[in-house]
Amino acid sequence: MRQLSETHLDAEAEAEAATTARPSTGPPLASALRPAEFARWTWRQLTSMRTALILLFMLALAAIPGSLIPQTAVDPSAVFAFRNRHPSLAPVLDRLGLFAVYTSVIFSAIYLLLMLSLVGCIVPRLRVYWRSAHARPPNAPRNLSRLSAYRRWETAEPTPVVVERAAALLRQQRRRTELYPAADGVVVSAEKGYLREAGNLLFHLALLVVLVGVAVTHLYGFKGSASVITGDGFSNTLIQYDDFSPGARFQPSNLAPFSFTVKNFHVDWQRTGPGRGTPIKFDAQLSVTDRPGATPYDYDLQVNSPLVVDGTSVFLVGHGYAPDVTVRDGAGNVAYSGPVIFLPQDGSFVSFGVIKVPDSVPTQLGFEGYFFPTGALGPHSQPYSAFPGADNPVLSLIGYRGNLGLDAGAPQSVFVLNKARLHQITGAGGRPRPLLLRPGQTRALGNGGGSIRFNGYSQWVRLQISRSPAKVVPLTGVLLAIGGLLGSLFIRPRRTWVRVRGEGGRTVVEVAGLDRVSGGDPASHVADLASKLRPPEHRPLEPVLQEAQQ
């Protein structure tokens, strides 16, 4: 009973009586009184306003580390780099779950407790609200003049006339209105703003809807990504993904059987002015087949405009260059030919990549190096990229011979060359010999034979592919929450009383108002009502209320 009376600011006991009614909580074990009492006490603590407040603070606090420490789910490569930079700190953070703050035990515990508290808070209030849905405005407190919003005057008009006018006026203002007989007169009691509590309840319930909706979306959805070189195709099966994170309830067999080919990809770059080199527009032309056997159709995939097939969405989230090379081995045979994905390192799109040629004889070949879309030489003749567009493509590689280590069993990244059993191909005198290539150029690989030709380049696109079933649920939840919030914050429950009684041949009129939430201004309402109720000859005397002006 106690803590709910905290939930409303005005201490009008009678007004609270309805709201404070709480069902008895705790297990019905009469024999185990103390545990039962303890449980009840705990529950009451948990569902108190103060606990909700503290939990809200804790939630805010617990969210902070995730913005300062890289998160595995957000940016795995940043976590990787962080671990390398702080080898001694990382295990500690790991143990505290700080690389996955938003799925950590602490964070989850806080929001689950908050939700529990919310349910515990809402259910009794729902019941109370339900019961009060048809409540009539209550009779006036005995001493109206104790309320801060209060007016009193005397008039020669007979009592029933004033009562009639007051009731009509209050009804016209769409307040629930009730007449109560009183000593020597009548009380007109009116109330407005019943929907505020409804709005508040709706808001809190909608928060639950959002949470449940998000959970369902995660459980039954998936998120993955794939990099596709222009000209290549993608079909929606697990093996075609670079990474794939399914929700706990997602079945891979549910993957929609669509496929598409990336026919072309195009970037417009800003070429002049201070924003030179920023991308203005990307688009990728796809040819999409919704299901095996269906007629393919073209789709222009752009940022902010995903392709949607059977509830699965394909987003364009990144792009890069894929230099196209042909490698011949010592025997003169083509051991590799085709485009290789290089990863852009910065806004100039200088891109790093690795070419592995396991099929070459007599030894395997490997290359690593950089692709410069607009190659240029710096003051110390270091190459760099002067522009992200491919105006002057240059490929700079270092070659290796030996064993690529692919048979060792351990999975290898396609972007890392395992150099344990490789040795660098050097030039005269054993000096490192970078192979600088322009499109169409071929370089021989020196002793041991073989050559590499830079045929040109393709582009590749990074696609994020995801399915978020039931996403309308959290969306609806938020919209309901906002609606409820508006009702809750802008509807002001207000009680108004007009007491009219005869006294020595005159009629005494008292008007008083009481807000049930703070932030309102009942005084100006009462002043307004008073000025409308008084017969015209009295009105000029009305002083301007200071409160009314604020």
Partner: protein, 329 residues
Amino acid sequence: MTQALATFNNHAIVAATVVYALALLAHAAEWAAARQLPVDNTVGERELLRVGAAAGAGSSVADDAGADGPGEVLERSDRFGRTGLALTVLGALIAAVGVVCRGLAAARVPWGSMYEFAITGSLAVAVAYLFLVRRYAVRWLGLLVTGFLVTVLGIAVLVLYRPVTPLVPALHSYWLVIHVSAAAIAGGAFTVGALVSVLYLARIRLEAKAAAAPKAPRTGFLWRAPSAAAIDRIAYRVHAFAFPLWTFAVLCGAIWAQYAWGRFWGWDPKEVWAFITWVVYAAYLHARATAGWQGRAAAYVALLGYATFLFNFVGINLFGSGLHSYSGM
């Protein structure tokens, strides 16, 4: 043409800064003029104004109000105040022209960099304040608001200025326009709310002191502001306006993120801090209804909320990485 617009934008923003600074001076003069004049402990200020130099109040005027009676002093103070308000309106109009020109010069909505955030955001603050002046007569906020505007625009002009650059493709979205507009308006209201809360805290301290020494003369401009309870009410209204709008802004941001990156919510640092701001302001609204947390404590919670909001726009833009770091810094 673009160049001309961009240049015009710079001139307009500088001019607006100067006009705001003049408004600041006028409000400072407004405070200073009535500094020595005590507020009658019993009569409301409005009565005081109306009665003017007439009996009663006259006897309590401090000596160095010079030859002027309290009526003239108030008159003069009020004139300064009105001048300050007029200058603020003028400054906001000029700033609005500047913001529009910047948008036209860039052929997009003007919030692609910290500079643009600052000029657009401060315009939102000015508009929110002027709206409140019309609605609730909050001219007593003038000194704080113009001080804030001068500071922000000054920093924008001197430190943050960057030439116009195009938006990266992820920022081409209607949802982004709605998202940032809502966030800017909510931010303007949060700013005004924070300033009102500061005044509330100052005023409640003053009232506590006065309660300890009821006979002491009530001089100083702060006594001319409404009571702490009335200020608190305005603080609540401003925050109650801003909070649903912020909720809506976050929602639009999530929808935009879905279109741009294929996920509604990814705990990107900017998203994290938008969430934290939301939670803290929710805590503020709760605190106002929790025994022991009303009044001063709630005002501190509101200021904490504002601190998290500022951190998102300043801290994360400066230090942050992540998808949102398009601040051009």
